[in-house]
């Protein structure tokens, strides 16, 4: 019997589950090794749980979804979250620092029809999670490594160092030192391959905070580079705004 895989979606842009289909060259090999039991974006065929592996995209933003994730956890031997929404609440977690009723009135003509939670929270706030794969979006090589490791039953090789280490390995000149460009690379977890610095751009934190990020050293540096308090707050308030180190760095307490 092949191990069974299910893919679940909560509040998100669909990009992380699209990464599975973006595996292209490896997709048919993967579907040969694994039985896809429930993946609505790809197939209308549905097999009942329990599942050996559930990949979960998106954050919890409604009372109903808070219940649904419990059931998914009960039906899954292993549960892995994919992407910034599932891992830190995503950009929609900006509501956590605002008045969600006011947000609703801004977007909807008839706010009384809307049912939503005041917060957008990561999956790990609700159920136990076996692994959190970072990124906005996730990196497909990391996804393949993670699923392969799961199939073999070994620990996945996913680095928890900073983007800086990837710049050094790739031979990319430091954009901050050479050009004075503000960059979150020193506090952001590796995984993208130092993409932005390679394109002459400062890192903007897609993969979220690294282990023990030294934001208190980075913030004065950003200020010395001419960034205002508002700029610094914006820099930390994107796709991983809900993660504790970035939330604190942005001054959201």
């Amino acid at each position: 019997m092949k191990p069974t895989l299910a893919v679940w979606k909560f509040a998100s842009c669909d990009g992380c589950q699209l990464t599975i289909l973006d595996l292209e060259d490896d997709l048919l090999a993967l579907t040969g090794a694994i039985e896809i039991s429930d993946f609505r974006e790809a197939t209308s065929a549905v097999v009942e749980g329990p599942y050996d592996l559930s990949l979960v995209e998106g954050s919890i933003t409604t009372p109903h979804d808070a219940e649904r994730i419990q059931e998914i956890r009960r039906n899954s031997k292993a549960l892995i979250t994919i992407g910034a929404c599932a891992t830190s609440g995503g950009i929609q977690a900006l509501r956590n620092f605002a008045d969600v009723d006011e947000f609703t009135r801004v977007v909807y003509a008839s706010p009384q029809y809307i049912s939503t939670l005041a917060t957008s929270t990561p999956i790990s706030d609700h159920v136990s999670v076996d692994f959190e794969l970072r990124g906005c979006p996730i990196d497909k090589r990391q996804l393949l490594e993670l699923v392969s490791a799961f199939l073999i039953g070994r620990k996945p090789r996913i680095p928890t160092t900073s983007v800086c280490t990837e710049c050094k390995r790739r031979g990319v000149v430091c954009v901050t030192v050479a050009h004075g460009t503000p960059c979150l690379g020193p506090v952001t977890q590796a995984g993208c391959g130092a993409l932005c610095p390679a394109y002459n751009r400062g890192c903007f934190g897609c993969f979220g905070p690294m282990e023990s990020p030294n934001t208190s050293s980075l913030i004065p540096l950003l200020r010395r580079l001419g960034r205002s308090d508002t700029d610094v707050e914006r820099l930390f308030s994107t796709f991983n705004a809900g993660s504790e180190p970035f939330r604190k760095a942005a001054g959201h307490g």
Partner: protein, 430 residues
Amino acid sequence: MARRRTIVTDYLARVEGEGAMTVKLVGDKVEHVELRIFEPPRFFEAFLRGRSFLESPDITARICGICPVAYQTSAVNAMESLCGVEVPEPIRQLRRLLYFGEWIESHALHVYMLHAPDFLGYESAIELARDAPAAVERGLALKRTGNDVMTLVGGREIHPINVRVGGFYRTPSKRELRTLAAPLERALEAARETVRWTAGFEFPERTVECDLVALAQPDAYAIENGRIVSSGGLDLAPAEYEEHFEELHVERSNALQSQLRGGGTYLCGPLARYTLASDRLSPGAREAAAAAGLGSECRDPFRSIVVRSVELVHACEESLRLIEAYEEPDAPFVEVEPVAGTGYGVSEAPRGLLYHRYRIDAEGTILEAKIVPPTSQNQLAIEDDLRDVVTRNTSLDDDALRGLCEQTIRNYDPCISCATHFLELDVERK
């Protein structure tokens, strides 16, 4: 007494995002049709307020993982037009190339992985691959080429990092772009084969009569910008959009839906683009369309799969031309200084017209944002079509009717993730 039937699909498969469908019949009469969307709202227009105008491309990209370039492009168009900046021609051409990469990726995904299984009687492309591996591999190779274009020009295929207001962070060299030529040649051949393949499917005869709306450029099949034109005779600058189109927040359908002001359903996307501008497709795309028997117009939603395939030929052929003609710009971007006021931006997402409006202050802080994605504009047309399809097929049993309804919805390639930011949420999962 007439028999009551309710056809329900709780969770539509092979669409982007979370949607459901309900059809209620009394005898042969269709009582109620609803494309319901329970994807939770994410409030982009609310949290864009207070952000820098320069952040809009990166933030709005996160509305949709399937068409991020569309969001980035409409956002930069809005900001640049407001601030009085016109980007140099090589940068505009590079934007077109990046956008064609997204069309190739998104269309190949829809044609092969989401839509073709309906016509061939499979539940997924993965299942289809067991019987027709060559076809599915061709689709995946096409999709991969689209992703390769996005990766080279944009940095990565989902949420590209290289787009900025004023241009790009880094522009590729002529030599780098040339590496795409060989894969694009192969993709072009695969796209031609895709047209032949899909043209051979069986199609029920359908015609939609509503207004068709798309962008137009005088000498090109519009993608990265243009004027808004319609089959009803509209010809508008982006700033005039809201004078002619409105969004309604309707409880019955659980959604804010677009319509022509004063009433009137309209459709945007491949059928609209093709019908309004098939004469401006690339020569190879016109040839493929003629061989597929499409004629100069196509108002048949089932045949949208053939039109998407023709657009794949166009996207590959145009990409090759852009790569051949590319000259590296003097600088990767133009500095853009904020100007207080309101900016309007449009572009042709794979699923149709994507409209952005922003009001910013003199420091470049966003004060107000409005985004109208194609799926919200198409929702009324989809429901109208669904009603008509059901009315003509009431003799089918429930399962067959449900299958036909789902296919009718997938004909429009709805992107529910995109639509979410305006959709009301009233979760009721049966």
